[in-house]
């Protein structure tokens, strides 16, 4: 009887521990998701084409290629 009671107590303690761990993992998951969303947002801002072309123009002095001087090569069917 005592053994059975000890077993039940041990089982409950184990369940309690697992629940606490699960709670911590859920918090960690939420934190990582938030971090991921923040990084995605930063990446989206940084890779915006308007920003890229503005930086290319103003910082690197690049210019849009003149369409009249752009040559297209027709490689035909391979």
């Amino acid at each position: 009887m005592a053994l059975l009671l000890a077993g039940v107590v041990a089982l409950n303690v184990a369940v309690l521990r697992l629940n606490l761990q699960s709670d911590q993992l859920a918090e960690e998951r939420a934190r990582l998701r938030a971090e991921s969303a923040e990084l995605t947002s930063m990446l989206a801002v940084r890779s915006a084409s308007a920003r890229t072309s503005s930086l290319a123009r103003n910082k690197l002095g690049l210019e849009q290629a003149d369409p009249a001087t752009t040559t297209y090569l027709d490689l035909g069917k391979r």
């Binding site: 629940n19 938030a34 915006a48 084409s49 290629a65 369409p67 297209y72 027709d74």
Partner: protein, 546 residues
């Protein structure tokens, strides 16, 4: 001690224990039976918690997967005023950390009649974490998702806005709300006094919102917006729109409106600026509508492109005299010249041959007077003439007394460019297309040839793109005067073009509302077309055809 005294003490003890037992028993009955339910509820309230598991809202992506609208981490700060020991000091600390006016916070924190007040919904997480570190009594924090538009002004009119509760309130955020929102989950848990979960009783996981890929290309969109901004500034115009459409699929590659705004500042932007004018606004199209009359006359077999007419510079239609914009003398013109020279008299002559019923049928066939079906809320369907008077046969074919939306007009020219097949315009990628034949391929080829002449030798020369054949049509329409008739100073200038004309890949429509200094579509709108088309052709690596 006598036996009598002992017995008396024992009896007293017995009475005491009996009373104590009865008291305990009574209390037990009181707690377990009489007050069981309220106490059970109280215990549940203290230990049980029903937590809503918020579903992350899906992102809106451009056609290449670039994020246009995403969910960002935020922290909501709340307080229980009854637990706040010093409302003034707390208000100052919170105000400093979150950069909010402490006076506004003090009012909330000092109101002890309430057990819950929001101090800041979806605050900046870094600032909220700094506030949390102060460990102020009575404050609480929980994570939320805040909608963010990382590209600011890019496509802001199209994207719309999702409010503080992450519900779509305008634009595609509204029309796609079901798909984007997902479904919140629920969890029932038992917590310890520190708020840690001891046991999960039941759990329904959240269904995350789905990402939606749009047909817009952020690079083309940003370029169209910047060209439009320059155009509005150059001509001191009130507003403008640019629509770039792939005529073979109906996909909208760019849809810009000016004035523009930062999508992150949607609530502070006035409603007039928020409108996606390309879909929700009607305008009188002027000469760009002439293509409908010419298409009708050709399709009905009334004329061929080379049929000639002797045209006076003016024409009497019922009680009105309608004249040419530039021509002052009688001239013989072919049907092709009527369209390329944008002859009012010639177009009205063709419309009279068609007659009212057939003319209306052709206007409808091109998709006017009904919603195009584009996946955007609040689409206008254009305006039919209020009543058909004797002069309507003269005004309607030249685009007066009728109003259309820019997206209707772009789709109509898309049909001309697409061998006579109209395709429902779309902002959402991979949406099943809706197609219908408007005219034969022969007639659409004839129209394309005439529209090419508009740019080569007609009113649209400013739309020429070096290396490419362009087909297009200019439009200049006086705006209706609120006091009746038409304004003599306010116009809508437009240009709609197809490029490359030999193998159409793009339809670009520009409308400029109330330009100053010049009013003609060929002068005001055609250069904007040229800039947008030139950039798009190079960006999409479309080889020249001229």
């Amino acid at each position: 001690m006598s036996a009598r005294l002992s017995n008396r003490r024992i009896r007293l003890l017995l009475v005491f224990f009996t009373l104590a037992f009865l008291g305990i028993f009574g209390r037990a009955v009181w707690l377990q039976a009489v007050h069981a339910r309220p106490l059970d509820r109280l215990a549940r309230g203290q230990h049980h918690a029903n937590i809503e598991l918020p579903a992350a809202r899906g992102s809106l992506l451009d056609r290449n997967g670039q994020e246009l609208a995403i969910g960002k981490h935020a922290i909501t700060v709340y307080a229980n005023p009854r637990h706040v020991p010093d409302p003034r000091a707390t208000a100052i600390a919170v105000g400093r950390a979150l950069r909010i006016d402490p006076d506004r916070l003090y009012g909330k924190l000092a109101d002890r009649s309430r057990g819950f007040v929001y101090l800041a919904r979806k605050a900046d997480p870094k600032r909220a974490e700094a506030l949390k570190a102060l460990e102020l009594t009575g404050l609480g924090f929980y994570p939320e998702e805040r909608r963010a538009y990382p590209q600011g002004t890019v496509a802001s009119h199209v994207l719309g806005f999702a409010g503080i509760d992450n519900k779509g309130l305008a634009g595609l955020e509204l029309s796609l709300n079901k798909t984007l929102a997902g479904r919140n989950g629920r969890q029932s848990v038992i917590r310890d006094p520190f708020g840690r979960t001891l046991k999960v009783l039941s759990s329904v996981p959240a269904e995350e919102g789905k990402n939606v890929r749009l047909t817009l290309d952020q690079t083309l969109q940003a370029n169209a917006q910047s060209v439009l901004q320059r155009t509005v500034r150059r001509w001191g115009a009130k507003a403008a729109t640019a629509t770039v459409l792939d005529p073979t699929t109906g996909e909208v590659l760019a849809m810009a409106s000016e004035p523009s705004f930062d999508a992150n500042r949607f609530p502070e932007t006035d409603r007039d600026t928020q409108r996606n004018r390309a879909v929700t606004d009607n305008y009188e199209p002027g000469s760009t509508l002439k293509v409908v009359t010419v298409a009708g006359a050709l399709s009905e077999g009334l004329v061929t492109p080379s049929t000639q007419f002797s045209l006076e510079p003016k024409i009497q239609v019922a009680d009105r005299v309608i004249g040419e914009a530039h021509r002052k003398h009688t001239e013989r013109m072919t049907v092709a010249q009527i369209l390329s020279d944008s002859s009012n008299v010639g177009t009205i002559t063709l419309a009279e041959q068609l007659g009212r019923e057939r003319l209306e049928k052709w206007v409808e066939r091109f998709g006017f007077w009904r919603k195009s079906g584009i996946d955007f809320p609040g689409e206008a369907k254009g305006i039919r003439p209020f009543y058909w008077s004797g002069s309507t046969i003269g005004t309607l074919p030249i685009g007066h007394g009728i109003a259309v939306t820019p997206i209707q007009m772009a789709a109509a020219y898309g049909a001309v460019a697409n061998g006579g097949v109209w395709i429902r315009p779309s902002l959402i990628a991979n949406r099943p297309s809706q197609r219908r034949r408007v005219m034969s391929r022969r007639v659409s080829d004839q129209l394309m040839s005439m529209l090419r002449d508009v740019v080569i030798e007609g009113t649209g020369r400013e739309a020429e793109v070096e290396g490419y054949q362009v087909a297009g049509k200019t439009g200049t329409a006086a705006k209706p005067d609120p006091s009746g008739g038409y304004s003599e100073s306010l116009y809508v200038a437009s240009f709609v073009g197809v490029v490359p004309a030999s193998n159409p890949r793009l339809v670009v429509l520009i409308t400029v509302d109330e330009p100053h200094g010049a009013i003609w579509g060929g002068v005001v709108a055609a250069p904007a077309f040229q800039e947008i088309a030139r950039f798009a052709l190079q960006y999409l690596e479309i080889p020249p055809d001229a």
